[in-house]
């Protein structure tokens, strides 16, 4: 039984298509990096706004975070690909299309900015108020306080949580084939149409995802461990 299972798992098949799969992986990584950057920038802005003293700013940013946190990534993906161009075309009175890759980056970037804004907010709130007051009392500007006093401390508190968000985001890139982005899953499906060997192909894709995430998160954790060693993280 195991011999037959081994036969049908057939790692060689996966290996034969390495160039195609690698091309797909590059697309996944590209979309991940771009949407992670978009999500991080938006998350910082929204996270700061969430802790603002301005009620309007707080309200709008809360609404934003709730909207994107509670909408499934897949729905956002489809929306960004099919609906967003329609709206933009109407608004600009000019026919407009959004390619699958930009749509995927927008959808995943906005989706994860909602989650990550919460991480940013929690990190900012974890910095004791007294640290801010001491800086204010010295005449340091709000911007410098955020940049020099609050963020460096908040960042260290956010890191474990942010890392989890990035892992989820990378995993979420596996759905982009649904709007015909040519990522790993897309390539695997295409090969499967020809070979009719779902078992080695999809299992191989799963193991590949898993291996990449384990290696990446272990590396980042090792890099950040010395922060904790210094005793103030």
């Amino acid at each position: 039984m195991f011999a037959r299972l081994g036969q049908s798992l057939d790692p060689a098949l996966f290996w034969d298509y390495r160039a195609t799969l690698l091309a797909g992986l590059v697309v996944n990584i590209g979309i991940f990096v771009a949407s992670a950057m978009l999500a991080s920038v938006l998350a910082v802005a929204i996270g700061v706004a969430r802790t603002s003293r301005n009620r309007l700013l707080r309200g709008v940013s809360t609404l934003y975070a709730e909207l994107f946190r509670n909408t499934p990534e897949y729905v956002l993906l489809v929306w960004a690909y099919y609906v967003l161009p329609l709206i933009l075309s109407r608004m600009l009175a000019h026919k407009l299309a959004i390619g699958p890759v930009p749509a995927a980056i927008l959808a995943l970037g906005f989706a994860y900015s909602g989650f990550m804004a919460e991480t940013v907010r929690a990190g900012l709130l974890a910095v004791p108020r007294g640290h801010r007051e001491a800086a204010l009392a010295l005449g340091i500007s709000h911007f410098d306080i955020l940049r020099r006093i609050v963020f460096p401390q908040a960042l260290r508190r956010m890191l474990p949580d942010a890392l989890n968000q990035y892992v989820s985001l990378f995993k979420a890139t596996s759905i982009v084939s649904l709007i015909s982005v040519e990522d790993i899953m897309y390539q695997v499906s295409m090969i499967n149409v020809e070979e009719m060997r779902p078992l080695p192909l999809y299992t191989g894709a799963a193991l590949l995802y898993c291996a990449i995430i384990i290696v990446a998160s272990q590396t980042i954790q090792a890099l950040t461990r010395n922060w904790h060693r210094r005793g103030w993280a």
Binding site: G130, A134, A135, G139, I140, R148, I149, W232
Partner: protein, 246 residues
């Protein structure tokens, strides 16, 4: 004491502060002469800390005027704060910066001082609080008393007109309290203008030029320590002093 200098270092006129319906400060007016050491005493809730925090607008006063060196404070809150040094009960050192980093941060950011100059200045003030050898340590590795002395050096590094101490020794063990009080005594001897909120009655009696007793957000008794501690006019002040002495 009969002829106060023409321009007080700090003048407060009719300061009021309410938190919602609760009126914490009910019209405080004080002139603090250049070089004077003024201690504020009073029961918890009398408004001492709120008064201090209103002086540098960490709490926004509800009404009233504040003058530093005769200049009224209007919109330039950061400028006001830079001229008033503040030391907190909880030290509030920034844990991700070294001791020297804590001390030079404000001169670098607020005064835009070139780094070598700020470092020289920072080292001078660390020497003043006897902690030059700790300049490269992180705050977490210092004792409470050492942390508070760094906080004092950090406030001094802005070369403020007036130093405000908000219960600077209240979270320290007695033996650590003394090392901080010793630094404060040195500052007083050097002619630093100081407003000190404290529960250390011995310090108030020995070091200050003037003791102000606050009660329910108002100045209830105000005079030289010999008078306030020896023969207070206000019965409430007398009662407070006998309760803290007991």
């Amino acid at each position: 004491m009969t002829d106060p200098p023409a321009t007080p270092a700090l003048s407060v006129r009719n300061l009021h502060k309410s938190f919602g319906p609760l009126e914490v400060l009910r019209g405080i007016s004080l002139d603090i002469a250049q070089g004077a050491v003024v201690t504020l005493i009073g029961a918890s809730g009398s408004g001492k800390s709120t008064f201090l925090r209103c002086l540098n607008h960490l709490e926004q006063p509800t009404s009233g005027e504040i003058y530093v060196d005769g200049v009224p404070i209007t919109d330039d809150i950061a400028g006001l704060r830079a001229r008033l040094g503040m030391v907190f009960q909880q030290f509030n050192l920034w844990p991700h910066m070294t001791v020297l980093g804590n001390v030079i941060e404000a001169p670098l950011r607020v005064k835009r001082m070139p780094r070598p100059e700020a470092v020289a200045l920072g080292r001078r003030f660390l020497a003043k609080v006897n902690l030059l050898d700790k300049q490269d340590e992180y705050p977490a590795r210092l004792s409470g008393g050492q942390q508070q002395r760094v906080a004092i050096a950090r406030a001094l590094a802005m070369e403020p007109k007036v130093m405000l101490f908000d219960e600077a020794t209240s979270s320290l063990d007695p033996e650590l309290t003394n090392e901080v009080l010793a630094v404060m005594r040195d500052l007083a001897r050097d002619g630093t203008t100081m407003v000190v909120v404290t529960h250390e009655m011995a310090f108030a009696r020995e070091v200050s030029d003037r003791v102000v007793f606050l009660h329910m957000g108002q100045v209830e008794e105000d005079g030289p320590p010999a008078q306030v501690f020896g023969a207070p006019v206000s019965p409430r002040c007398r009662q407070f002093l006998s309760s803290v002495r007991a």
